[in-house]
């Protein structure tokens, strides 16, 4: 679903904002280490990590048997830029236009 990958949805949640702050303080953490900072149940924290990863605010990196989470600085920068949602709106519109028109000649 589109909404799930929306950066703004990700940021609207206080736990998710806290996770991002944690990862600013210590750049690579496992899900377990992140969860230990919260009273929330472990699966809830996993869900938050999933959402943050889906909208590319976090990266996962395999490190031996462990998976470490990192911030994605590129994406964090995008949020600082208020024009990005406006650009994204046009990008989505133009992508749609391209998809529709690529099918166009065969419909005739």
């Amino acid at each position: 679903m589109n909404l799930r990958r929306d950066v703004f949805q990700a940021l609207a949640d206080p736990t998710r904002r806290a996770i991002l702050l944690l990862l600013v303080a210590s750049p690579a953490m496992t899900a377990g280490a992140i969860a230990s900072n919260f009273d929330t149940a472990r699966p809830t924290v996993s869900k938050h990590l999933q959402i943050l990863t889906a909208c590319e605010l976090l990266h996962q990196a395999q490190n031996g048997r462990e998976v470490h989470y990192h911030l994605n600085p590129q994406k964090m920068k995008e949020i600082g830029d208020f024009i990005e949602p406006f650009r994204k709106m046009w990008e989505d519109r133009f992508d749609k236009l391209e998809t529709i028109m690529k099918k166009y000649p065969s419909k005739k």
Partner: protein, 155 residues
């Protein structure tokens, strides 16, 4: 990944430029801007009227499932040069954004691709900045609504 759609908006100016290269021949890119059926699909709105000619005008409208009008826009076409250029006004009704002037320029690129440059001029710097911030604000509202919706289900 390089961004396909670029926005150029200088601080303190009442205009902006949107550019995009399409993997489409020029004729198809142009057609997508003048065919009412295609415009409706791309914009996700109803096209009440679209006269693609000099002195022509257009009207767009979107209603929600209850039949309330949630978006209505209109404008007049000033310049119409097939496969090259469209100059038109655009006004979103019942909003404080005023009337904007839009200059669309269409160019062929090599290998069957094409490029669109949109030059948009607003009445004031403040209005341009408001329009730029609109999707940002909507993004935040949407996120809050979604959180409320989820929180509501948990009760």
């Amino acid at each position: 990944m390089e961004q396909k759609t670029k926005i150029h908006a200088e601080d303190g100016k009442q205009e902006l430029e949107i550019t995009r290269e399409f993997d489409l021949p020029l004729e198809l890119l142009f057609k997508a801007h003048i065919d009412p059926g295609i415009v409706a699909q791309v914009m996700g709105t109803k096209v009440l009227k679209l006269e693609s000619k000099k002195h022509g005008s257009y009207q767009l409208e979107t209603k929600d499932s209850k039949g309330n009008v949630i978006f209505r826009a209109n404008g007049v076409i000033h310049e119409f040069d097939p496969n090259k250029k469209i100059t038109r006004t655009f006004e979103m009704e019942n909003t404080p954004f005023g009337v904007q002037l839009e200059i669309y320029e269409f160019e062929p690129l090599t290998g069957g691709a094409s490029k669109l440059t949109m030059h948009v001029i607003y009445e004031s710097v403040a209005q341009r900045d408001q329009v730029l911030k609109l999707p940002f604000a909507q993004g935040i509202n949407m996120a809050h609504n979604r959180i409320q919706e989820i929180a509501g289900k948990l009760k």
